[in-house]
């Protein structure tokens, strides 16, 4: 299955994301990165 069209496209503003980290503290992506670049990686699970 081709997932390349799923999710934000190149040039789009990445959506606001607020998710709990490994310590259950909520992280706001754009606040946490400030004015820095970021890499966002999605996986189906931490381990297969």
């Amino acid at each position: 299955m081709d997932y390349s069209e799923r999710g934000p496209k190149v040039g789009d503003h990445f959506p606001d994301v607020r998710l709990p980290d490994q310590s259950s503290a909520v992280v706001d992506l754009h606040s946490a990165r400030g004015a820095r670049r970021a890499i966002v990686v999605f996986h189906r699970s931490a381990r297969w």
Binding site: Y3, S4, R6, G7, P8, K9, V10, G11, D12, H13, F14, H30, R33, A35, R36, R37, A38, I39, V40, V41, F42, H43, R44, A46, R47, W48
Partner: protein, 188 residues
């Protein structure tokens, strides 16, 4: 799926893996996307091998692996002064530089990677155009470890095949093997 965001939060690059189970190792991802290397405090093991006029040092960018992870294999070739090896494309009859990786348990697979630009080289009296590497050569090779979870520690053989030549002499093609031990990362 991986998104690279610029400083304003816009998507600068989007990467979709062909195999959804494959995950890029953190250091390789960082290097490929930023061109730099993150600071490391992790100990990694390395292996060395040598043939006449060519030496090889190899190491992974992680001390462990987990199933379906893609790690960066660093391969450093050191070629004696006055000698060269042929680049990845070379005229028929000469041994191009080749790198192969096998593993036990089986499942290591090399992904495409950029070779450094070889230097043009001409031999007086021959019509062929050669492209060669001299001195030191650094490669970072993405290696997918398509190995089932729970398989245990892996042994990886890195085989570098090349042909060392000088301006007046060519040795027969030879292979250098470097064997790396890569423990499986503990389950979460």
């Amino acid at each position: 799926m991986t998104f690279v965001l610029d400083a304003t939060g816009r998507v600068e690059r989007k990467i979709v893996e062909a195999n959804y189970r494959v995950r890029q190792g953190g250091r390789l991802l960082f290097e490929q996307l930023t061109g730099g290397q993150p600071a490391s405090t992790q100990e990694v093991s390395e292996a060395r091998g040598r043939q006449v006029h060519v030496a090889v040092r190899a190491w992974f960018d992680s001390p462990t692996y987990f199933a379906y992870q893609r790690l960066g294999l660093h391969v450093e070739l050191t070629i004696d002064p006055g000698w060269h090896v042929y680049g990845p494309t070379t005229p028929s009859g000469y041994q191009a530089l080749e790198i192969a990786v096998t593993s036990d348990p089986a499942g290591a697979r090399i992904d495409a990677f950029p070779w450094p630009e070889p230097a043009a080289f001409r031999v007086e009296g021959l019509d062929e155009d050669f492209h060669v590497y001299e001195g030191s050569l650094q490669l970072v090779i993405p290696v997918e470890l398509i190995i089932a979870r729970g398989s245990g520690d892996a042994r990886l053989d890195v085989v570098v095949r090349s042909q060392a030549c000088s301006a007046t002499e060519c040795l027969p093609p030879s292979s250098i093997r470097a064997t790396l031990a890569l423990p499986e990362a503990p389950a979460l």
